[in-house]
Symmetry: C2
Subunit: 192 residues, 2 copies
């Protein structure tokens, strides 16, 4: 029961914090959104920082589900599955008016210098996404679709960072051109 | 006189906001840092948003001075000047413990969805940095150092976004590996 309510609070708070930031979103606003009695926050979370850690886990899971390669799961080509994952993400961003950017990137920017525990959790979450990309790159190398000379882990790291930067720029430009540019350079130049 | 004090306030506030964010940094803290009497903020700025616009201009100017190609200004090769600019920036970040990330990127993340005026000013500032990179790429094309097939504006946009993403990851990883990876891919793969 307690765990379920905690999960509801996270789910209700996630879009607020995604849009307006971690610090800016107050406990009262979070509890109102979750329809949980005022003042009960510390019954569910030891601190706002602990809540932040749970929020990172929530975003990381949502991202791996949303951006998972479902859209092209039946495709044998790892390279096409990877591209499809980014294209799907681009389409979602376009449909949402290019707002928000990346929930993990936002927290990484806001909290990395302010909470060592959140920074470490974000490091793990981003590392895990990078590992997922690296696995696909290894598979694509095995399928002969990208050069064996590319280091899968370094390439995955560069791709993930470039994607975070493209999402940030999209948020400021309010169009998906940075994401299209990312697709062109990554799939037209880096992975060739 | 009034303009000078306003400039001092900006200069004193810039490192605070760079480290802890725009919203999180209160007017009292800003005035204390600038050693300006409490309550006088609105004598110098119409609103915190107007102050934010001046802050963006301040960061944009500081960046174009710091990251200007001074370090390699005597070098005839535009490609080497560009690389040197990023390497110098990498060394500064390393010496500062990988904190802070990019001051403009931070504000872009925090404020793009919350202030249309700050978003537009950030768009201009980032666009102007991108144009500077594009000019160097055109020069490098004229010098035969990078392929003429690359679109200078699109390539500059991708490079700037990838750099912002690398700075963000650096801030979370607390090491410059993402910046080194950026240098390897941009100068070893994109611009070849």
């Amino acid at each position: 029961m307690k765990q379920n309510v905690a999960k509801n609070i996270i789910t209700a708070a996630a879009p607020l914090i995604y849009r307006q930031g971690f610090h800016r979103t107050g406990l009262k606003e979070i509890l109102d959104a979750a329809e949980v009695p005022k003042g009960s926050f510390y019954f569910y979370f030891k601190s706002k920082e602990d809540f932040g850690l749970a929020l990172i886990d929530h975003y990381a899971q949502a991202l791996s589900e949303n951006v998972s390669l479902k859209g092209a799961a039946g495709d044998a080509s790892a390279l096409r599955r990877l591209r499809k994952a980014f294209e799907t993400h681009r389409d979602i961003r376009a449909s949402e008016g290019c707002e928000g950017g990346c929930p993990l990137g936002n927290l990484a920017q806001e909290m990395s210098d302010l909470s060592a525990r959140m920074r470490e959790r974000l490091q793990q979450a981003l590392g895990s996404i990078g590992s997922g990309i690296a696995s696909l790159l290894r598979e694509a190398q095995g399928q002969g679709d990208i050069p064996k000379s590319l280091d899968p882990d370094q390439t995955a790291g560069f791709i993930l960072d470039a994607w975070e930067g493209a999402l940030l720029r999209m948020k400021t430009e309010k169009n998906v051109e940075p994401l299209d540019r990312f697709l062109d350079f990554v799939f037209g130049k880096i992975l060739t």
